[in-house]
Symmetry: C2
Subunit: 190 residues, 2 copies
């Protein structure tokens, strides 16, 4: 079958590593377009991520989300986000979601459902982000944070999150995308 998008694609000619850490590798790729233009592109090879949307239903029907507040080094800001993290090498995305949920909030989920899969930034990042809905939560343990994580869990009602999303501390685009996946999932359930 002919590739009707061949005019849009670029082919890689060469690449070199600019920097590598345990978490990311930054490479510069030389690529050529279908009409012969050449460019050097920075590509960040990053591990896949998980977002977890942990929902608690109060006896009166109020829905609340478990979330985490933490200092974010890139933006130099304290943000409130859904629990999230990197998927370890060889780890199943749902196992990573269960692990991050427990590490960051001390809760286990009776049910974990994949409700979204996105590209955090396809322009220069290679990775995917999976969003899981976590339900039937039980308090299982104390927090178990990575050595370099300092965060505090909190709950916000779904109404508060809907109202505040995109403002104040709720400004991480990946958290917005996770909320979008949650609303899409709710609408499909109706």
């Amino acid at each position: 079958m002919p590739d009707r998008d061949a005019h849009l694609r670029w082919k890689e000619l060469s690449r070199r590593s600019l920097a590598a850490s345990g978490l990311f590798d930054l490479v510069e790729a030389q690529r050529v377009s279908s009409n012969g233009r050449r460019g050097d592109f920075w590509i960040l090879e990053a591990r896949d991520w998980v977002n977890v949307v942990p929902v608690i239903r109060d006896p009166d029907g109020t829905r609340r989300f478990l979330m985490v507040r933490q200092y974010r080094h890139g933006a130099d800001l304290i943000t409130t986000e859904f629990p999230a993290g990197l998927i370890e090498r060889g780890e199943d995305p749902s196992a990573a979601a269960a692990r991050e949920l427990e590490e960051e909030t001390g809760h286990r989920a009776g049910r974990l459902s994949l409700i979204g899969e996105l590209r955090p930034n396809p322009a220069f990042m290679t990775n995917r982000c999976f969003t899981f809905l976590a339900e039937d939560l039980v308090r299982a343990s104390a927090l178990s944070l990575d050595e370099l994580e300092v965060l505090e869990p909190l709950t916000l009602t779904a109404d508060e999150v809907d109202r505040q999303m995109g403002r104040g501390e709720l400004v991480n685009a990946m958290t917005v995308a996770a909320l979008f996946a949650y609303h899409r999932h709710l609408a499909a359930d109706r």
Copy 2:
């Protein structure tokens, strides 16, 4: 006023450049937490971005978005996204939105409204992303693409975008966040 979040913040001890291009600088920052833990963090200093949500209203009331299809080097994928791009140094975000809209779609907007401001990835990126609603569109010029841009504009109805967002080619998390900002803006208008 005491900082009630002092226990969450990290202080920078030193930083070194790992790599620099015209668009990004990658630095490694050594930082220390309030309880004395030290870590090295990758921080990507990136220019701010704009997303533009260009809306056309057909005579029958149907709403359509101007969007762009392009090859994305990071994910090695063809995606469909809202027009978007980097803000030039010293450029006003709304001027960048007008410029990207015209370059990528050949349209000018009679009205540009800021409807959202997010952090693409506060964990390791320094930048902001502004989302503008573009209305009263007029076809003004041919496309005017950067030398290394190869893309094709298209229109999709708002219903199609609502249905497809998060699937197929509509998987850029920043495009999802822009659609979220658009729906939030519509709801506030009601």
